[in-house]
């Protein structure tokens, strides 16, 4: 039996599988289907300082081997998350959870992170500077190394828990942004958020999505994500969470060989809500097949 556990920024995970933010709500929808304690952890729905409805609908478009979303960070706001969502989660998830945070100013990020940092259930802060679906925030921080560093520093100065900066692939050079975050004190880097994409409805001759463009995710982007994880792993010393189109135990192993310490699964949850427990169940067999004894030992093994 292979060893699945990995250490993510000082916290031991039973396995490296983490449902990605925005595809797993605050956990309890999935708890109807399976015991979510089997997960390494999960990253909860992107939370902002104030409540948000998000973008108009349609927010979803299907693509070949993937989908586009333009939800626009719908969430009840950090106060409501702490008062309502986290207590509900406590009933079905006993492990430390990853708090995903988004914002529209450096102060927003710092405020929301400080509030969530104080919650006992929160193990890590995953700071989303990469949402392609909101104006005047999100991705604009993740496309400029100076702004990325500024958010990192601001969050680090008000928190005690590991801070993981989540990066967008919609940049010329993701390595520069990753380095800027690591230099500014980030404890980890997670990548990639969705790739900006669009679809047009031939019947209406208009974009399918009300917001016109959205974030493309799913198996189609896996090779791009893997390449970026590999590049960033060569350039920074902090742990990396790899994500982008991961849908199988084999994908997980590739991500880890490219340099990921843990792996997030996103769009695949929406299609097969049991995909994460299936991957966790498959991992020992697939590891055996490829002669892998311990996951921790293969991180960054593909040179």
């Amino acid at each position: 039996m292979g060893e699945l556990s990995v250490n993510l920024c000082g916290i031991q995970l039973d396995n490296p599988i983490i449902p990605a933010s925005g595809t797993f709500g605050y956990g309890y929808e999935y708890a109807e289907l399976f015991d979510i304690n089997c997960l390494g952890t999960f990253s909860f729905k992107g939370t902002t300082k104030d409540p948000r409805f998000g973008n108009p609908t349609p927010r979803i478009a299907e693509c070949t081997a993937g989908m586009i979303n333009a939800v626009g960070l719908q969430n009840p706001g950090v106060e409501q998350v702490i008062q309502t969502e986290l207590p509900k989660l406590k009933a079905c998830f006993q492990k430390p959870v990853m708090a995903n945070v988004s914002g529209f100013s450096v102060e927003d990020y710092a405020y929301t992170c400080r509030m969530l940092d104080a919650q006992e259930q929160v193990g890590w802060l995953e700071v989303n500077i990469s949402c392609p679906n909101v104006h005047g925030g999100g991705m604009s921080f993740g496309t400029d190394p100076k702004a990325a560093a500024e958010v990192t520093k601001a969050v680090k100065s008000v928190t005690t828990k590991p801070v993981i900066m989540k990066l967008t692939p919609n940049v010329t050079d993701i390595v520069t942004i990753a380095k800027a975050c690591a230099d500014a004190g980030a404890d980890g880097i997670s990548l990639i958020n969705t790739m900006l994409g669009m679809r047009i409805d031939l019947r209406t001759k208009k974009p399918v999505i009300a917001n016109k463009m959205g974030g493309f995710s799913g198996p189609a982007i896996f090779p791009v994500a893997l390449r970026m994880v590999y590049q960033v792993a060569q350039a920074v010393d902090v742990p990396i969470i790899g994500m982008g189109g991961v849908s199988s135990a084999e994908d997980v192993l590739e991500m880890m060989l490219a340099g990921a310490t843990a792996v997030e699964v996103g769009a695949a949850n929406l299609v097969d809500p049991l995909i994460c427990p299936k991957i966790i169940e498959d991992l020992p067999n697939v590891m055996k097949k490829y002669n892998i004894q311990s996951l921790q030992e293969i991180i960054g093994g593909a040179k």
Partner: protein, 244 residues
Amino acid sequence: MKQGIFEIVENLPLTENVYKMTLRGDTSAITAPGQFVNIKLDGLYLRRPISVCDLQGDFLTIIYKVVGKGTAQLSEMRTGTLDLLTGLGNGYDLAKSGASPVLLGGGVGVPPMYLLCKTLLAQGKSVQVILGFNTKNEVFFEQEFKDLGANVTVTTVDGTYGLKGFVTDALAGCDYSYFYTCGPEPMLKAVYRASRTSGQLSFEKRMGCGFGACMGCSCKTVTGYKRICKEGPVLQKEEILWES
């Protein structure tokens, strides 16, 4: 919600592009008329949400119109199995029906009315059904509703069958205690405006997951933000905020 593998028992056309499929599997998660299932199809990334038309033990009936790649693929399946998520959505609340509810279905909004009608009749209600279609060769399920014992009126927009006009034209002459409806949004809006009682309306929206995780199908209501797939697809008349 449950995930299960269903065997295709039958898949037959009712009209030129509307099909009725009977499936066999674990239906235990389906708890109310008006809920839907989400179907995985080979080669397509997202599942296809389709409302439940009828339920008899292990047998589940769905009726769908061929509108795109997914439904076209579904219409060609004769045998085999399908991966379904079942028990999705809130479904209709039957407790509010009163003694003589009216059910209005338009086009592929007709199927969910069937299980609802059957269930209300079993509770001893006097059920009136209004089925709206564009034209004669699109009409389906009139006899099936009559066989249940409901009082059925069919309307067609072009007058080639039944009463000429919209479901609301037939509604004008009805006495009813409550209404239930499903159909295209312009029809829902017309029923909302024409109805003289409270009621429930079932909405359709482009979905990602179908079980409340992705927030792809959210809408604003008087009682806050709702996910059509989770707190919907059925909304109370009083809580609806029309987008346009």
